[in-house]
Symmetry: C2
Subunit: 558 residues, 2 copies
């Protein structure tokens, strides 16, 4: 049995004009700002007019801790959207945009896979509608204005040693991680050490994804801390007078992008913050717009449920007033086997014992998600090598946890292969059983919030934080930031901070190396490990093989 590759399937897709996709959602053509014939932004004016409409049901797709076997979270998100439409529901999906830079390092970047993909795939992995370029420009305008302010006399009294605002580029460029700028004499300014992060790590990205509208965007941009004075008082982007111009640069980027699935169902693809130092979800404005236009909105969160779903609940939903009606937890037989100790090369052989040994990872995520008051359904994303006995083992395990697991064949069959899950998810969403509540209240002290996540989600024994970290958290509480949620930057591969610890580890502590304040985005980042904010390219970057073929198609990107 052979299967077409993702890119072959995507290229064979019969796309509808984007106006037809919009029309099915009730968006008039004049309110769709097209980018080519298959992409569009939904106008802010139209979105403003949606206020007061009923919201559809919100379905979150999350996953077990990622393994090299692949879980297919985005594939399941796309498939479930198609499945819901197939059973007669009006459904839309909401996912994140891809970062351009990493695509030139490693192949990848497909939006879904198999028969469950979003198109146009090439554009989505290149410049798309320019949102990330706009974020790069806005971020770097602020950087230039800070150095320019110092250059012309430093009226604000910025401590040149404590400029915390770096620059960004949507490129994997390790040479820019740590640099000295303003060499060459007085005309170029005062030399200082700084660096570049990749664009998705920009606080501007997180803000764009959390802002309710352009006014809120500008307010949050102004709230960003860019430097400190000698007396340790913060200097804000607003003090640099950059917030207005940054908002102008971001006005188009704030409008959500509409594309389509292979089955011509609507897909909002908007924003893409890191899921470690930021919250890892598509934009609030896309999710809210979709909820006004569709009866069911399927969205996803980054990494596994311990990071992505936790932040979706505790940051995005809390701040945006959203509440998921049901959560779909994606698992695969292969990933269970890897959690059960099988090496990637041996995944092809049936191994029910290994599946059973790996299931506790799944079980802990089920329990965690239930603690948010939301109903959970497990989607077993079927691989061709899965045996019936292995699938049964997962089903039995999940049933023993008081939940339900449904086998899905959307990768192979598209929406048709996921009708059972779609039907069940719609039933649960419609039932109104969800009693969503974030895990901790706003007024809990910051360190206790970190401890709550570590204890209740990671199942850690304790949080270890030295005096510097504790003092810093206390200082931020003093300064009025105590009501912010926390954003955990931890490895995605384990519940613990050790990426090698698969399954459901216990008996570990969570060390907090450092804390950072994202005052504009509105969260405190707790860093529990080495977090890389500017990737490098591998020895043989995929860029070396990327080219246009004679037909004008992109080769080597996927």
């Amino acid at each position: 049995m052979t299967f077409a590759t993702d890119i072959e399937i995507a290229r064979a897709a019969t796309k509808k004009p984007i106006q037809q996709i919009g029309e099915a959602l009730g968006i008039p053509a004049e309110h769709l700002l097209p980018y080519g014939h298959d992409k569009a932004k939904v106008s802010q004016d139209f979105i403003d007019g949606l206020e007061g409409r009923e919201n559809g049901k919100l379905i979150l797709v999350t996953a077990i801790n990622p393994t090299p076997a692949g879980e297919g979270k985005t594939t399941t998100t796309v498939g479930l959207g198609d499945g819901l439409n197939r059973i007669g529901k009006k459904a839309a999906i909401c996912i994140r945009e891809a970062s351009l830079g990493p695509n030139f390092g490693m192949k990848g970047g497909a939006a879904g896979g198999g028969r469950a993909q979003v198109v146009p795939m090439e554009d989505m992995n290149l410049h798309f509608t320019g949102d990330f370029h706009a974020i790069t420009s806005a971020h770097n305008l602020l950087s230039a204005m800070i150095d320019n302010h110092i250059y012309w006399g430093n009226e604000l009294g910025i401590d040149e040693r404590r400029v915390v605002w770096r620059r960004v580029m949507d490129m994997n460029d390790r040479a820019l991680r740590d640099i000295v700028t303003s060499l060459g004499g007085v005309a170029n300014g005062y030399p200082r050490q700084t660096g570049f992060d990749i664009t998705v790590a920009s606080e501007v990205m997180a803000i764009l994804c959390l802002a309710a509208d352009l006014d809120d965007l500008q307010r949050r941009l102004g709230d960003m801390i860019v430097a400190y004075r000698r007396d340790k008082s913060p200097v804000f982007a607003r003090d640099i007078k950059a917030d207005g111009a940054m908002t102008v640069l971001l006005k188009d980027a704030m409008q959500p992008n509409l594309v389509q699935t292979l089955e011509n169902n609507p897909a909002f693809v908007h924003g893409g913050p890191f899921a470690n130092i930021a919250h890892g979800c598509n934009s609030v404005i896309a999710t809210k717009t979709a909820l006004k236009l569709a009866d069911y909105v399927v969205t996803e969160a980054g990494f596994g449920a311990d990071l992505g779903a936790e932040k979706f609940m505790n940051i995005k939903c809390r701040k945006a007033g959203l509440a998921p009606d049901v959560v779909v937890l994606v698992a695969t037989v292969r990933a269970m086997k890897m959690n059960g100790g099988v090496a990637k090369a041996d995944l092809g052989a049936e191994n029910v014992a290994a599946v059973e040994a790996g299931c506790p990872n799944l079980g802990r995520h089920i329990g965690n998600l239930k603690s948010f008051g939301v109903p959970v359904v497990v989607a077993i994303n079927h691989f061709v090598t899965d045996t019936d006995a292995e699938v049964e083992a997962v089903r039995d395990f999940v049933a023993a946890q008081g939940a339900e697991a449904i086998l899905c064949r959307h990768w192979e069959k598209g929406g048709e292969g996921i009708e059972a899950l779609a039907t069940r998810v719609a039933e649960i969403a419609d039932s109104g059983v969800s009693q969503f509540a974030p895990l901790y209240p706003d007024d809990m002290p910051l360190l206790e919030k970190i401890e709550t996540v570590a204890r209740e989600v990671y199942h850690a024994d304790a949080v270890v934080a030295d005096k510097t970290v504790r003092d810093q958290l206390a200082a931020w509480e003093e300064a009025g930031y105590g009501s912010l949620p926390v954003c955990m930057a931890k490895t995605q591969y384990s519940f613990s901070t050790d990426p090698g610890q698969r399954g459901a580890p216990t008996g570990f502590d969570v060390p907090i190396r450092e804390v950072r304040l994202s005052a504009g985005a509105g969260f405190v980042v707790a860093i529990c490990g080495q977090i890389m904010t500017m990737p490098g390219l591998p020895r043989r970057p995929s860029a070396e093989a990327i080219r246009l073929n004679d037909a004008g198609d992109v080769e080597g990107l996927f």
Copy 2:
């Protein structure tokens, strides 16, 4: 008498859907890739299908040396296009795209002025269709791949001290002019000194504007020299294997952008290379496409005729096989007065003697342009303060040079105000009198080419170049680059290299400080002064006042 501001006029414009603009040129809607409702790219497929069609007439608009009084070269280009359409001709204009960065330093960036503008003005001064972002990405991908190549073992034997490829950003950021990268230890690479230029200074920009098609683009990108080995042999972008991926990043940017004038006539706005270290013209592909679709194409070249028109003729036309049918030389009474020694503050008062004293600058440009074998018409771009006697003085001077000067009121009246010029220009273009030839043959030695331009265009006594420069030119001739044209990087404010020398100076030398090889773009740059390739922001950058107003319009950008 009060006049509306440029932005007020632009906002009051009644734009047609871009599909209607395209339709008038014979471009079917499926071959227009829209960006919103008022911008579009013309598809490469459609352009490929135009081969074999007759070309329209090519009209170059150039100007005297720029003065702070303003000459209105773009305004005249736009007005002349409207004027030609108004007298029943099928005409299109071709101009350059604006760079985003400088708009956040000084106000400005309008595309034309008064009743002769291209819209949508805001978009054109912000992200437009993303071309410059694509160029930035392609340029910086190559930068990252070079450092990555060295990081992983430097198989190509690059001399780390002789990496000549820098990075770019479309931002005025002086702090990035001179930097040290790869600090922080072995994981970040080997520290070296480098810097950023502004995106319009990228050789990729020059290449995009000179490439015939995507194949030619990739070939030229591969030809770029990025570094040298210890034996001084060049390392090309092709050796780094970056040319294919860069072409993929530029595939959309290569398609020309279509917008419209206030009078709903077609305007191609595409590319924007520096007019000093590069050739300063819009893309060849835009000009050639326009020539297939319109009977008259009005285009412009950067700075004054000594730089812009010279490069248009000797670089763009030579390489693209284009030949202007007539040249319009823009002058104003005010600029003549400034050339005649009047300070800007005193320009309001009638001063016929000063006009006459300044006219030799105009006269020299007329003579120079004629030496290319092209007919010249002078457009006097009317200002409200001009007196009849002053205008007559210009007219008389031009007549004495064997040319004709026509008063134009397009700023005030749009196409209606420039009908006389349009009529005369069409007559001359149709007459076939142009006998265009570049100023020097391909096989002239490089130094002699520089001397030819200095002598025949600048009217300099001699070119001064030390042994290093002469040896370098000889080495490039040896290496096979001897047939390239030269690209002069000189002040735009004077025929000489002293920006204070207005009028028609004589008795000066042209010192060549440095020469650079743009092997992909295909020219040798001769640097005759301080050339800034990364601007800085002023003490009070316009960004501080840029914001969205309550109506959602951009304030402070213009």
